[in-house]
């Protein structure tokens, strides 16, 4: 921390807020990449005047692992388990995007049971991912040694229950490899449905506890209301997605707008708030908790019998071949739109694969909304944007 990094030579004048500061100088402070609340490896070069941030220069790329090049060397059978590692907090959505792109390009039908299972795990994954979001956000705002850690541990306690469900379904807790081209790899074991019902009932009651600790809490309201306001125009301009977009008044959810994988069969609400501040994003995600649980209950009540894959089980590495063409598949992940753009060349490996990372586009909004707030608000805003750097850097 001795020598500060050089200030960016040309601060985009549109993004620098001038304040009535009569103090002496601007301070350049580096936040990250090693920082308890950087949510991963993220470097934000803050320019401060006193306690207020004047400009933010975001530096990413610390977690770049060449996913897109890797996809060119791995076949369609091998890559889905690697796809989990982009958004490692919500692994099921990334796998789903890749597998859907390949299926659409090769015009492979997916059996109904597999589609319902995909929706079930996607919604459970949304619950688990939002648990992690709430926990880490409160920990950033409340201190690793303090009330924030308490909410964090409660959320992780509930997330562990969902991960236990995934463990009895697939055998893995974090990076599943559950999807394959044509369907899914694992069917539900005996007793899983009952266990799942018990878990989501418990989580629903615990959500009430989180809200009791946070919702009407003046401290929480003070920290989040009016902070980091994203206006509707800015949201549509920058191209963010997910709860950020819906908290700014844009009623857009891919599960409604372009239903994929049988989402049209289920009855759920899409929460929309207009305030656009951190509190609105919090409200949107809390409602999404409940809606996801609703969807999972509908699936458990009506899971159709049938095969879980329309392709035979994997026997050799080049089993799946995808014809020439290009395809873009989008899913609504917990953070926004996760997209996979695939160019097939008729063989077993794609010619090109590109990820549209939800967090990558969401991070672009930070230099617009952070200037004008104080340093303490930077963590509140970053937490409510909920970036996962596996998605950002791939």
């Amino acid at each position: 921390m001795s020598a500060p990094s050089p200030m960016p030579a040309d601060l985009n004048p549109r993004l620098v807020k001038t304040l009535d500061y009569t103090g002496s100088e601007r301070l350049t402070m580096n936040m990250g990449p090693q920082h308890p609340s950087a949510h991963g490896v993220f470097r934000a070069i803050l320019t401060l005047e006193g306690e207020q941030v004047v400009a933010v220069d975001a530096v990413i790329g610390y977690l770049h692992r060449c996913h897109e090049k890797l996809a060119e060397t791995l076949t369609y059978a091998q890559y889905p388990s690697i796809a989990s590692k982009t958004d490692y907090v919500a692994a099921m959505t990334s796998e789903l995007a890749y597998v859907m792109a390949a299926e659409r390009l090769a015009k492979i039908e997916v059996p109904k049971r597999a589609e319902y299972l995909r929706v079930a795990v996607a919604e459970l994954q949304r619950v688990a991912s939002h648990c992690l979001w709430l926990g880490t956000w409160c920990m950033d705002m409340g201190g690793a040694l303090g009330g924030g850690a308490t909410v964090f541990l409660y959320c992780i306690r509930e997330r562990e229950l969902v991960l236990d469900l995934f463990e009895s379904l697939t055998g893995a807790r974090l990076l599943y490899g559950f999807h394959q081209v044509g369907g899914v790899r694992y069917d539900v074991p005996e007793g899983w449905a009952a266990e799942c019902r018990k878990t989501i009932d418990l989580i629903e009651s615990r959500i009430l506890e989180y809200e009791a600790m946070l919702e009407d809490n003046t401290f929480f309201r003070m920290r989040t209301e009016g902070v980091g306001v994203i206006s509707r125009e800015l949201a549509l301009d920058v191209g963010i997605g997910g709860p950020l977009l819906r908290a700014s008044g844009v009623a857009f959810d891919l599960r409604r707008a372009q239903p994929y994988s049988s989402y049209q069969d289920f009855d759920f609400n899409v929460p929309v708030e207009t305030a656009g501040d951190c509190f609105a994003r919090y409200q949107v995600r809390m409602v999404e908790f409940r809606e996801s649980i609703k969807i999972v209950r509908q699936i458990l009540d009506g899971l159709p019998e049938g095969p879980i894959s329309s392709r035979p089980g994997l026997k050799s590495v080049a089993q799946v071949r995808v014809p020439k063409g290009e395809m873009y598949a989008r899913v609504e992940g917990p953070r926004g739109e996760v997209g996979c753009y695939l160019i097939g060349d008729g063989g077993a490996k794609p010619y090109r694969m590109k990820w549209r990372g939800a967090s990558f586009s969401n991070l672009a909004v930070l230099p617009h909304i952070i200037p004008g707030h104080s340093v303490a608000d930077v963590v509140a805003i970053m937490g409510s944007v909920d970036p996962v750097f596996g998605e950002v850097d791939r």
Partner: protein, 193 residues
């Protein structure tokens, strides 16, 4: 669902007092719940049936011979390419001369188990192999067989997985072959309030 912020000094103070009591009540209730900590390694953790743990090679149940025929399908399918197999031909069937698995780079994705035609490579219901030297995790064939004897096996083998994923060609009324054993009995009691 949220109420508007109350205006006025006393209303705000009252709201703050209520919020304080509400939050402290939740922590107070949690104080009297049983902690969810599992005292590993003093108490073992209950692994579900399909747990993807350590990898191992097994012997055939009827003849006692090595099940691996050295076909190298697992080597080709492995995404991080951690498996290296050399085949040696035998009279009735082939064998694997050497079989190396770099466990420190393994992803535990279970694709090798999936493709194995003879159910030779399987995963165990345990991951207890912490070591101070990474070279201990470069498993050769003897180590792999030893691991297969040492730990309990997971449910998944190549044929079981492929049967589970196969599109149906069975007559109606016949129970599908892919029903997995009861995993509910093994769930840890971590969710109990």
């Amino acid at each position: 669902m949220a109420n508007a912020r109350p205006q006025g000094f006393f209303a705000e103070t009252w709201q703050l007092a209520l919020a304080v009591i509400r939050a402290m009540r939740i922590t107070f209730i949690t104080f009297f719940r049983k902690p969810v900590t599992v005292h590993y390694p003093d108490r073992p953790r209950a692994y579900p049936d399909r747990y993807r743990g350590l990898l191992a090679l097994v012997y055939e149940s009827d003849t006692g011979e090595e099940a691996c025929i050295g076909c190298r399908l697992c080597e080709f399918v492995c995404p991080p390419a951690v498996i290296k197999v050399e085949m040696v031909k035998g009279e009735k069937r082939n064998y694997a001369k050497t079989f190396t698995l770099e466990l420190y780079a393994c992803e535990f994705c279970e694709l090798c188990v999936q493709v194995c035609p003879t159910d030779a490579i399987v995963m165990m219901k345990s991951f207890d192999m912490a070591t101070a030297d990474r070279r201990d995790m470069l498993l050769d064939k003897d180590r792999l067989h030893a691991i297969g004897e040492q730990f309990p096996r997971s449910w998944a083998t190549g044929n079981l997985l492929r049967d589970m994923q196969a599109p149906p060609k069975k007559a109606p009324g016949e129970k599908p072959a892919h029903a997995a054993p009861d995993a509910a009995a093994e769930k840890p009691a971590g969710g109990a309030a």
